[in-house]
Symmetry: C2
Subunit: 159 residues, 2 copies
């Protein structure tokens, strides 16, 4: 269970934009340099993020990228879903071995665990927004654990 390169770098590019003063934008070369990736690679990532509606781009001299919505309104769960190509929906169609369909098509003891796991992850990520990620490592860490704590308490009250 891991984060793909696309998820990691895509998220980082968005954080760079979220960390900008109101109204400012970044060009591809600037984003690439700040994240230590090639301009070509940054270009592809930003294309994905633009297509998904997370950023707005302007062409020509003085062009660049900026967030399409306030950072506080963009949840990590949305971002990951896009960068991950909605992998979860296809899980059971992918792992079919040498056959056309999974041998556990009818009844599968693993499926509920996989689905449940993704629910837990999506749930945790839906409570974190881009604006939560712009601070220092220690402050983000504190925020994350606070959010998780609150969330779990609400969960168990509901149950």
């Amino acid at each position: 269970m891991k984060i793909s390169a696309q998820e990691e770098y895509g998220l980082r590019c968005l954080v760079q934009l979220a960390d900008l003063p109101e109204g400012e934008s970044l060009t591809l070369p600037q984003i690439a340099e700040r994240e230590g990736i090639s301009t070509a690679n940054a270009g592809k990532l930003m294309w994905l993020l633009n297509r998904a509606g997370f950023v707005h781009s302007t062409r020509g001299t003085k062009g660049g990228y900026l967030l399409a919505r306030p950072a506080s309104e963009i949840r990590l769960s949305e971002i990951i879903r896009v960068l991950d190509d909605d992998e979860m929906a296809k899980h059971c169609d992918n792992y079919t071995g040498v056959l056309d369909s999974c041998v556990h098509k009818g009844d599968c003891g693993i499926r509920p665990v996989i689905i449940g796991l993704h629910e837990i992850v999506a749930d945790a990520l839906s409570n974190i927004t881009l604006s939560h990620l712009v601070g220092s490592e220690s402050s983000v860490d504190a925020t994350f654990h606070k959010i998780q704590g609150i969330h779990r308490t609400l969960e168990s009250q509901r149950a």
Copy 2:
């Protein structure tokens, strides 16, 4: 964020062994057939699982594989850690772009989220054992949610 083929199929092979009557074992061709994968592939997976100490193998005619420990004592968190090649420990060494080390080496707002996410997943998986996975899909689903519910309640009480 997704499960790799190695994790998925490796876990499934273990579930097959967990579903066996006490003392019985399965050969590679049997495991392969039951999971719809090639014998060669099953062989590689079982080699990994044997090396990690989850199963015992016996060679020669009448040989085969069986669990090294009771299914109720093997937690999914251990299994995933092995099949995933302990990916988490290397996260920050992997995503360095074109550079030798990650540009966020010093202070990184994303790291606590990645680490926290893996903690949440490992936490959820540590409460599920192989024996939980042998029933029907609906019973496993019920068990999973029950375990998660109990766990979250304890978590929030502690907090």
